[in-house]
């Protein structure tokens, strides 16, 4: 005997499919739920798993998640629809949104071009972005993919794809993170920070 009872084993396996959850962590979660979680909370947990696929869909305009036809951002009349910030993921969108500074709308690519993972432009939400630009719905496109190889490749690709249209394309700045110590930074970041220097 080395395995837990079947139903617990199933739950452990389910937890293991989450990102960076290994066997030990999954066991810990499952045993915690068994020992500490009240039945009522457990039923809520179980139901919320089912309902996210049922109740949530992608906003056809930007790719954000929503329970309505359009997401809260695209349907907000206060937002500047002419300024579009392109992010890799919904998580990135919510991170930027939580700063409560940006007043335009978003476009979620749903990933980045990655040769190692076999993700090509056809797997990304690019067509609808090109369509928007083509229809002159956008004045400024802010490329906010991550500062990784894949993020740069994707930003580069979008720039090439859209350069002939009448749209201003910008890329968020790379450089020293606030509070960052140069001696701990990698070469690339320092180079980018030097390159992006401004009059002071």
């Amino acid at each position: 005997m080395n395995k837990y009872p079947n139903s617990l084993e199933n739950l452990i396996e389910a937890f293991q499919s989450l990102p960076s959850v290994g066997r030990k962590t999954a066991e810990r979660y499952a045993l915690y739920i068994f020992s500490n979680m009240e039945e009522e909370k457990l039923i809520d947990f179980s139901n919320s798993l089912i309902s996210i696929k049922k109740d949530i869909k992608k906003c056809p305009c930007c790719g954000n998640i929503t329970e309505n036809d359009l997401c809260n951002i695209c349907s907000d009349p206060q937002r500047n629809k002419k300024q579009v910030l392109v992010v890799e993921s919904i998580k990135d969108l919510y991170t930027i949104e939580s700063l409560k500074e940006y007043k335009g709308i978003y476009h979620v690519l749903g990933g980045v071009i990655s040769f190692s993972k076999g993700i090509t432009i056809h797997d990304l939400n690019i067509d609808s972005l090109e369509e928007k630009v083509k229809n002159k719905e956008v004045n400024e496109l802010i490329l906010a993919t991550n500062a990784t190889l894949e993020g740069e490749t994707t930003a580069r690709y979008l720039k090439e794809l859209l350069k002939d249209y009448d749209v201003k394309i910008t890329r968020i700045a790379h450089g020293l993170p606030v509070g960052g110590d140069i001696s701990y930074l990698d070469e690339m970041t320092i180079l980018k920070a030097m390159e992006g220097r401004r009059e002071y």
Copy 2:
């Protein structure tokens, strides 16, 4: 807008109730499930959450979890019922069991005496252990609570409680972990390792 759609928010909250899962990790899990998990797997996940409370109960003999009347270990005729290894948690039981060395049975306390957490002897599965010892069902009791303050206190308490009965009480050894480097060890472990030294 700073919050995700309601059903996703509910799932994030559910994940946050797991041990050492903060807001960021919970968001990551929930978004991963939304974006990557197939509907079928999601339903399995949801069902397994419900079924652990329904299908699994505690073994009345040792406190281990089981889907049957007695757990696999207590109902195994090959196991030595006279030797009882006392552990804090089901997880510890499974850790020791995975070594496939121990041939006795277990007793799960379901915690340890902790003043800071307000856990007293009345919250632990101790009565049935005393009962077993009183009825002379046990020859050797191996105290395998952790080498923490709480684990030691609990071991000490059990020793006091049961010392007048006709039972051999042992405590697992403390010392240098295999592969351990003395210079990296804390004082207490080194002292315990010295104290527990044997003829070589």
